[in-house]
């Protein structure tokens, strides 16, 4: 009879052996009180992970927030021109719920895409004229035309995509990954978030810190948001009036005094404090070095396009994502807003694509030429798709589209996925899936799989349940794996 059976005493010493290598995210020392699992002393990942050899060492998730229109980008439906303006047949809608924004509309007229589609690359992947740059790298990419989700509005849909649950409270994907795999770089966080700042027109839906939050995991696994203004990491810079060597002197004093305390008091938590101060100091060098683009060749800037020099732009964040990938950051999460084209879609979607197409394609190209694409999984897509029926007034030149959770397009590249491949079919209205559905949980399971994680075995016990990213669902999407 011994309650200590349950308390994980045996891990303690292992904790301290790893102290010099602690980091944030994967390697952060969650307090001794919080953790009862074994961790690798080097990466601070869970012992036993990866479950099997990983194809991808890291993930770059290019989240296009708002819901890009699959009908105007990848899901080519030439038949719709004939049906332009006709009512969406009941046989297609099948009584599915629609949002409060169009449920009051007296008519749901079909709006065909105004944009031209062509087959691109050797694989002949269909792609619209709005993505001239992406169309050139499609041979590196697997397009899934049949991703589907359960939520119909932004907040629950994006929360679902990032955490596997529509309601707040669960850990984000990146938090799960850094909890499981730890970090490969002791001077940078394992999970970094980049939010591109609003450009000219498409100011859009809000984001929430829960999207990169730790949920019920210890808070050290939450994503560290690299900010687009001021210090990239909160309070990274020393204040005005404190030079580098002054800071060093101060840190030496702090550490010495902590060391004295440690010796007198015996609490190993003080060792952790000392090592965290050292890591903070190293970050003061590693982060500015990461952010400094001065050594990038001109070709880089040409490749990513003119916006890349503007800090906080999507292009700059794509380049930063590559630099983070080079440095072994495990999970790199970009957010780009402005894909919510309820009205004026032809104009606004074109603008949106103009701002993102070139840097997105450049990232793929850049990773490839550096040999990083092989073990970096890049994922592009939003939280849902858009309806075939028009929201608001349908005219010859203009239309809008409401949220459509039943099928939408995402693409993946690198990290063990197929090149030049398209999965799934939808009906003539891009309204229902006819072949190869991929649920968000399936996609999450597959992303984890590429990282060498069995999604059913990466669990965390909270409130008595062994929670996982995919809840009790998720099937591996085998056809897209190389």
């Amino acid at each position: 009879m011994n309650p200590f059976d349950e308390l994980g005493l045996a891990i303690t010493r292992r904790h301290f052996f790893g102290l010099g290598r602690l980091g944030i995210g994967g390697a952060a020392l969650a307090s001794l009180m919080a953790e009862t699992v074994e961790r690798d002393p080097k990466t601070h990942g869970l012992t036993g992970l990866p479950h099997f050899p990983a194809k991808a060492k890291r993930v770059i998730l290019l989240h296009q927030s708002g819901g890009p229109s699959q009908l105007d980008l990848f899901d080519y439906k030439p038949q719709l021109t004939k049906r332009q303006g006709t009512e969406l047949p009941d046989s297609i809608r099948m009584g599915q719920r629609i949002t409060g924004m169009t449920s009051g509309q007296s008519s749901l007229p079909v709006a065909s895409s105004r944009f031209q589609f062509t087959q691109c690359g050797q694989a002949g992947t269909w792609c619209s004229q709005l993505l001239p740059y992406t169309s050139k790298v499609l041979d590196e990419i697997t397009v899934i035309k049949t991703v589907h989700t359960e939520a119909i509005n932004h907040d629950p849909a994006i929360t679902f995509f990032q955490s596997g649950s529509q309601q707040p409270g669960r850990p984000s994907m990146g938090a799960w990954v850094s909890y499981g795999l730890g970090s490969e770089n002791e001077n940078l966080p394992a999970f970094v978030v980049l939010v591109s700042q609003q450009h000219s027109l498409n100011v859009d839906q809000p984001l929430f810190s829960r999207l990169w939050g730790p949920g019920f995991l210890p808070s050290s696994y939450q994503g560290v948001k690299f900010r687009s203004g001021g210090d990239p990491v909160l309070f990274l810079s020393d204040p005005a009036g404190i030079e580098k060597d002054t800071r060093r002197q101060m840190l030496d004093a702090v550490n010495k005094l902590n060391q004295i305390k440690r010796e007198a008091y015996g609490d190993p938590e003080i060792d952790a404090r000392i090592s965290q101060y050292e890591m903070a100091y190293r970050m003061q060098t590693s982060v500015p070095e990461l952010m400094d683009l001065s050594k990038e060749p001109d070709s880089t800037f040409e490749m990513y396009g003119p916006e890349v020099r503007k800090r906080g732009s999507y292009a700059a964040n794509c380049l930063l994502a590559r630099r983070l990938a080079e440095r072994g950051v495990r999970f790199i999460q970009l957010y780009h807003r402005g894909w919510d084209q309820h009205n004026d879609l032809p104009r606004d979607l074109a603008l949106q694509c103009r701002g993102t197409d070139q840097p997105t394609a450049a990232l793929i190209q850049d990773l490839k030429q550096r040999g990083l694409l092989e073990d970096t999984l890049v994922v592009w897509g939003g939280e849902f798709g858009r309806t075939v029926y028009c929201q608001g007034k349908l005219t010859e030149a203009n239309y809008g589209r409401d949220h459509h959770p039943r099928n939408f397009c995402m693409w993946l590249a690198g990290g063990g996925t197929k090149r030049g491949f398209t999965l799934g079919e939808t009906d003539d209205f891009s309204y229902n899936i006819t072949q190869d559905p991929v649920h968000v949980h399936d996609l999450q399971a597959t992303i984890l799989h590429c990282l060498g994680i069995d999604h059913k075995r990466l669990t965390y016990k909270f409130q008595g349940r062994h929670f996982r990213l995919t809840d009790v669902h998720g099937e591996l999407v085998k056809p897209i794996l190389a």
Binding site: L234, T395, G464
Partner: protein, 1026 residues
């Protein structure tokens, strides 16, 4: 090999005193069965595999032969040689260790004794055990702790040094460190009850309530914004202040419970009791456009169930939302019966656009209350004068012969006139008929007759206008966009509404603007909103004049973006400006002269109304109201007219007053409560069987005959015989002081929760709590005056090795203080702290852009961080404005939750981001400088050593030892050298923060001392309760 090795179940032989005794079912076997088996062989009827259940003795006996493990199928399967046949199966996240399998074997061989899960039976008060070290215990807590230590062969630690103990108990009971005077008094007080006197002083401090409220706010998911998508502001701080006050007044825990869960249902509920019920309105509320109300109504109620059951029952009821609970005896149907208690609130699915969501309670101050009464009387008096019959008769009379009195419409110079009553013809006689150039123009019922509606596509061209010469325009409009947009104009002249501005008093509005010749004339005030307005614009020789509803508007002028030729046709709906007009346009007149002010009024008010009076058959309600308003204000003679004019003024005053009164969201039953159904898969779209309020059968029943409502539920919770409430409460208090509860899983006392480390002590405390009438202060006093609490937290390697988490309590607690206190401690040490209690939350320093980078934009409140100044910068951490989608940055770095959900236990992490915050957040740099000033000016004649000692003492409540002094002295010396060379740097450093640097101090010296104090504020000890 690759499986994850969770260690919480593993027996590690040899670590502790091993006495060979019988396997204990509750502590050793039940956790294994629960974690490894119940998911498929547990309480969930729907998911049960092989028709086998192991959560009941009856079920388990199907596969267990007591006394014979080898013959028991349970043992055969968990120990099966073939992996494929071994339980739990490979798909399970759990695997059993050899030790666990062995435990099961021994248990079966020993007879497979079965007991109910510990927390399902009410606590029985045990006698405090006998101990050997008789003079150590100070109260009964210590006898339980010591008995256990003695059994383990351990001895308690000596009492902590006085200073350490004072700091510990001050932080624990008030969240603030002791000040030097308090420290000195305590050190001098040699009386045997010196410590108890301190405890009583702290319990009487108003800061005690604040400290106790901090964890409660986490449980209650208290925040200053609504969360979810928009995340605009709400006002719940009066509820937060009530919590603080309730702790300070020592409201017994049973009342504390009843008021918060059902204060509104108490007979003759007081304002305070209703206010307390805000506990279950702290959940998030959604206002995402397009969201479906029914979906969120369900979520709000689920959140109440989860917060309530976690807080009072440490039950994970949420797990039974979609299916029967996998581990605990809670059926899905029972979840919805519990849900039904909270599904009766008079609320909306989408709400919170302008602050608090329904239902809410106004909280007028006595002054406001008096003013309200006065206004009410004054209004009643005027209404009495305005006898409806008489005024109605007079209005009818006036309407009947309106044609006799209709004034000539303002005529001279009328160039074109579009009534837009269903067509676009020009009725001025000049045949400038307007043309629809793109899209369709539709018509709706406007304030006077029909009105044209533009959908954001339609383009209409009216008569040409040369805006470089005197002219006037008059029209009615209503904007349907929140963004600014052009109503009408031509290349070089445009009339527009600006972007929506969020106003105080929770309203939105827009300004009007006229663009011409590279300049813009904009109304100084926000004059228009989503209603229909009349505007008149007149151009003279010297610019523009503007009237809204016939009243002149003040204009300010600045550079504008529109120039070019201003003599083309007037157009509405040009897409290049940059959006086509979306909204209403009516009664547009164009004059080729400047109208006089009286004419502007005539055009705007009198003529439309007289015209309206002519419509008798099909007036809308709005039209009738406008007409009556016009008649009473302009036509009817005194005393009616005077009474009505005054009445309008009084009502405006009343509205302004009502808007200025603080409100708070509370519980309130709907007149027609919603029905509750079981929701299949937890989905609001799949309602099944209808259910009535009730509680799971595994818990004691509700009293028969009592109404099935929240009040009965609340009273049931605080029944002295309740198995959970008192245990859960005292366990959380224990966690507050010792870092870990006696049950570590503070939020889960169910089958999957951890077993208590000291079960008898937990039950003794629980029964003691009830015995003392749920006296919260008495319970805190009991805990902090125990010898257990008062031990030193020094630890030897051997003891640490043996008990790293200090669950045996052979030493005192030592852990990093919570986020709010990290801040409070630095502010208190520096003397900057503003100790005010309660009131609206504040916005201290925060790096620019944290909200803005992810927020929605200024159409809603709380999207832009507007930092406070002065005193408000130095309030305690708990008063920081809590925006859920972007929680306070530094607090969040130190593990403060986002408050989206109920939190019973914060993690305690240790990260480099915390180091960066303590080193570089201006809050802490300013505190360092203020601490330096405090010691340098407080002891002007003392030595540097004395100053160092003082600064160290203020931060840690002790003086540094010789070795530490040496480090500090050297550091100071180096900093002095640095800044003697770098005067500019010194200036910059001491300028950080909005409190002025003391100009009597030498800047270089102050800078050096600032850094020394920063070192002190960064010490592990400073941010640790020791």
């Amino acid at each position: 090999m690759h499986s994850q090795r969770f260690l919480f179940l593993v027996a590690v032989p040899g670590l502790f005193a091993q006495t060979p005794h019988k396997v204990d079912f509750a502590r050793q076997v039940h956790p294994i069965l629960s974690d490894a088996c119940f998911a498929c062989h547990g309480p969930d009827d729907a998911q049960r595999k092989a028709n086998l259940r192991l959560d009941t003795r009856e079920g388990a006996l199907k596969v267990i032969k007591p006394g014979d493990a080898a013959a028991s199928r349970l043992y055969q399967r968990v120990s099966h040689a073939k992996k494929a046949l071994r339980m739990p199966p490979p798909v399970s996240p759990v695997t059993l260790t050899d030790a666990q399998v062995d435990t099961l074997k021994r248990w079966i061989n020993e007879g497979a004794e079965w007991k109910t899960h510990w927390s399902y039976a009410p606590p029985k008060r045990p006698a405090a055990p006998e101990v050997k070290l008789k003079n150590w215990p100070k109260n009964d807590i210590d006898r339980f702790v010591l008995a256990r230590l003695e059994k383990e062969g351990l001895a308690p630690s000596p009492e902590a040094e006085k200073a350490t103990l004072l700091r510990r108990v001050s932080l624990d009971l008030t969240g603030l460190p002791p000040d030097p005077a308090e420290l000195e008094a305590f050190l001098k007080d040699k009386s045997p009850d010196a410590y108890e006197k301190v405890v009583d002083r702290l319990l009487a401090s108003p800061h005690y309530g604040e400290r106790m409220a901090m964890p409660w706010l986490d449980l209650a998911r208290y925040a200053d914004t609504h969360g979810y998508h928009i995340d605009s502001h709400r006002v719940m701080w009066p509820w937060r202040d009530w919590v603080i006050g309730a702790y300070n007044k020592n409201l017994p825990f049973d009342q504390f419970t009843i008021w918060q869960l059902a204060g509104d249902l108490l007979p003759d509920a007081t304002v305070e009791q209703k206010l307390a019920s805000g506990f279950n309105r702290n959940h998030m509320i959604n206002y995402e456009g397009g969201a479906i109300p029914e979906e969120y109504l369900a979520e709000y109620v689920v959140d109440r169930v989860e917060a309530t059951s976690t807080t009072w029952l440490a039950a994970t009821m949420g797990c039974a939302r979609c299916h029967d609970h996998k581990y605990d005896p809670i059926k899905q149907k029972e979840f919805y019966q519990f849900f039904a208690f909270f599904n009766t609130v008079d609320e909306k699915g989408l709400d919170g656009r302008y602050g608090n969501a329904d239902p809410f309670l106004p909280l007028p101050s006595p002054e406001q209350k008096r003013e309200q009464d006065e206004l009410k009387q004054a209004i009643e008096a005027r209404e009495k004068v305005l006898d409806e019959k008489e005024t109605g008769r007079r209005q009818e009379e006036w309407e009947r012969d309106w044609q006799n009195r209709i004034p000539e419409p303002v005529g001279g110079g009328l160039l074109a006139w579009y009534e837009l009553d269903g067509n676009t013809s020009d009725v001025s006689g000049h045949f400038h008929h307007a043309r629809v150039r793109r899209g369709d123009l539709t018509y709706s019922n406007g304030p006077t007759g029909r009105a044209a509606e533009f959908d954001g596509e339609t383009l209409v061209e009216f008569a040409p206008l040369d805006a470089s010469k005197p002219f006037s325009l008059a029209f009615q409009f209503r904007s349907s966009r929140k963004e600014g947009q052009v109503i009408l104009g031509n290349e070089g002249f445009r009339v527009a509404v600006d972007n929506t501005i969020v106003l105080p008093r929770l309203k939105r509005g827009q300004k009007l603007a006229v663009y011409y010749g590279g300049r813009v004339w904009r109304t100084r005030e926000v004059l228009v909103n989503g209603d229909t307005h009349h505007v008149t614009i007149a151009r003279g020789g010297d610019g523009f004049k503007l009237w809204v509803e016939g009243k002149p508007a003040e204009l300010e002028t600045s550079e504008g973006a529109v120039s070019g030729r201003a003599d083309g046709p007037l157009v509405t709906g040009n897409r290049d400006w940059p959006m086509a007009w979306k909204g209403r346009l009516d009664d547009l007149r164009i004059y080729a002269r400047q109208l006089a002010p009286a004419e502007a009024g005539q055009v705007a008010v009198h003529y439309p109304m007289e015209r309206l009076a002519g419509i008798t058959a099909k007036r809308t309600k709005e039209q009738n109201e406008r007409l009556r308003d016009y008649f009473l204000l302009n036509v009817i003679p005194d005393p009616y007219r005077q009474a009505y004019t005054e009445l309008k003024q009084l009502k405006a005053k009343q509205e302004a007053l009502d808007n200025s009164i603080t409100t708070v969201m509370v519980m309130k039953e709907a007149a027609k409560p919603r029905e509750t159904h079981v929701l299949a898969r937890g989905d609001y779209q799949q309602p099944r069987e209808k259910v009535e309020p009730g509680i799971p059968a595994a818990w004691p029943p509700l009293p028969s005959g009592a109404p099935r409502n929240r009040l009965t539920l609340a009273r049931w919770l605080v029944d002295p015989e309740h198995p959970l409430t008192s245990r859960v409460a005292v366990n959380r208090y224990w966690q507050m002081y010792f870092g870990t509860g006696l049950v570590k899983t503070t939020e889960d006392f169910g089958s999957q929760g951890e077993q208590p480390s000291h079960p008898e002590l937990l039950d003794w405390l629980a029964t003691e709590f009830v015995r003392t009438g749920w006296d919260i202060k008495a319970m805190q006093r009991l805990l902090v005056t125990s010898a257990t609490y008062r031990q030193s937290s020094r630890v030897t390697p051997a003891l640490h090795e043996r008990d790293p988490e200090n669950r045996l309590l052979a030493r005192g607690p030592r852990f990093r203080i919570q986020a709010e206190m990290v801040r409070d401690n630095a502010l208190a040490a520096s003397g900057l702290l503003n100790g005010a209690i309660g009131g609206p939350s504040v916005l201290p320093y925060q790096p620019a852009g944290i909200w803005e980078e992810i927020a929605y934009g200024d159409v809603f409140t709380s999207q832009t961080y507007v930092q406070d100044h002065g005193d408000k910068l130095y309030r305690r951490g708990m008063y920081t404005f809590w925006k859920r989608t972007a929680p306070p940055a530094t607090l969040n770095t130190f593990d403060a939750p986002d408050r989206e959900k109920c939190t019973a236990r914060r993690p305690v992490t240790n990260t480099p981001l915390q180091a960066l915050a303590l080193l570089n957040d201006p809050t802490f740099i300013e505190a360092s400088r203020a601490l330096a000033q405090r010691v340098l000016t407080g002891l002007p004649k003392a030595s540097a050593d004395a100053h160092i000692r003082r600064a160290f003492l203020l931060a840690t409540a002790r003086v540094p030892n010789r070795q530490e002094m040496q480090v500090l002295r050297t550091t100071l010396k180096r900093q002095m050298e640095t800044y003697s060379r770098d005067g500019e740097g010194a200036k910059k450093l001491v300028a950080i923060g909005e409190s002025p640097a003391d100009s009597n101090l030498d800047v270089k010296k102050l800078a050096a001392w600032t850094n020394l104090c920063s070192v002190i504020l960064n010490l592990d000890e400073t941010v640790t309760k020791e």
